[in-house]
Amino acid sequence: MNFKLTDLQRRMLDGEMGEPVRQGMELTVQLAKFWEAPSLIPVQSVHMPGASAKTARRAGRKYISWAADAGGRFVTTTTLNPGAADLTGFEIGITPETMAQQMEITESYKRMGAIACHTCTPYLVGNVPKIGEHVCWGESSAVVYCNSVLGARTNREGGPAALATALTGFTAGYGLHLKEKRLATIHAAVDYPLADGCDFGCAGYYLAKNYPDALPVYTGLPERCPTFGLKAIAAATATSGSVSMFHAVGITPEAPTLEAASGGKKLETIKIGKKEIEETRQYLNRTNDSKEVDCVFIGCPHLDYEEIERLGKLLKGRKVKADVKLWLFAANSVWNSCERSGLTQVLKDSGAVLVSDTCPNITIFKEVIASRNLRSGAVDSAKLAHYLPSWGLKMHYGTTADCIDAAVTGKWRV
């Protein structure tokens, strides 16, 4: 190891602060050794993946419950990623057994001090680190957003590492915590007017499918780039690859110019134009040969206010077809603010269901498909279009307007 533990870290490792803290520090030190981290660093916040019965699985659930039972308490602000269920009452279609497992996980994290917001967009609900701050976040889409848009620093952390840091307050200071590891390695020149979230998703998915662990710098994103576009590109790059950060010139705090993003180094340039966007859209549609659609999911990553307002306009005066499900996903506190502001009635009037705390990707989707008898879906998220076919649902991928049209007609007419 290249560094000495501080007195506090040593006492944690010696077990003076209880067994969960000891195990957390042990894992953090193992990771620090493996990654040759120059130090352990204190963090401002944790965003906890593995907050679902689906992602924690049986072994993770037992470990999380044990940590809470053994007196583990979080020493840093810790927000929870989505779980397997809507905790406000909507029954998504999981078994009672899965529901009980989810409650066990949520309650265990709460006992340790977590904020049970159960969202993949902690940056929309109050976990908003600032430029240069060190955090320990999981949820691949949030990791990319955190590094690339907020300019805070995190590696793409798995559940056990995030739990360890929540218990100790320290993370291994390697990778994207280090300024020199945050320089771009490839220039992605976008030559296409990215407008809908689906366009942004195609751009990110294409990049990471071809360069899975690159650190790209994008040029050619729209001026006044919308938050939903940045969420979409972040989620897509973290799906087809392990990209944990991008620079977007003029958006990323560390990238006022292309030269600043690369540290002055000349980079290889790849073009993302009409051909690449359209090929990616076709690729993400490849699993679905049916023109019928029986379910439409919008809100991956969870919706922001601007998206909810746009959905209101798209759905005004329209009705979701009787046998089609239109499920909209956002953080519970975002829905509450929209409810108070009168933005939700138009959605409910259309027949859309407003879902909190979960998403198709992070619930046990096999159970949802079986209990709801789903066969053919439509989404505007590259992440959902990529993952949901794994569990047996055919997917269409298009713009938000295409998806709303499918919800209203029951047909994919693109």
């Binding site: 993946p49 072994a59 990778g175 392990s242």
Partner: protein, 139 residues
Amino acid sequence: MGSVIEIKGSGVGKGIVKGEALVTKEPISFNNGVDPTTGLVIEVGHEIKGQSVAGKVLVFPVGKGSTGGSYVLYDLSDRGLAPAAIINSRGDTVIVTGCVMGKIPLVHKCDKDPVATIATGDTVEVEPETGIVRVFKKN
């Protein structure tokens, strides 16, 4: 009898494990890409879809996708369905954390590209403490 090739990388884990290689040139996301209750690769269109990772020396370039992958590796290990070892061309945080937690030997940062050097069906011996991988070529 085929040849033996030695690869040197950097590893985590203890002991020496030996197993049959399962190699893919495509990145893997364990969450949503591998079913933890069966050990089968389920990502639609993936090069090794339908194959089991259980007990194999699993060789792939780098992890990708969901941060839920660490707990899936831990759960596979708990169910006895984990790979015997993992060899990556490049390190990925989610894979490393899952391997440490699930006590699955892992080697990465190799001096020869493991995806090009190892073929499915080769017998592979992995010594994570030294980072040495011995490949007994089938052909």
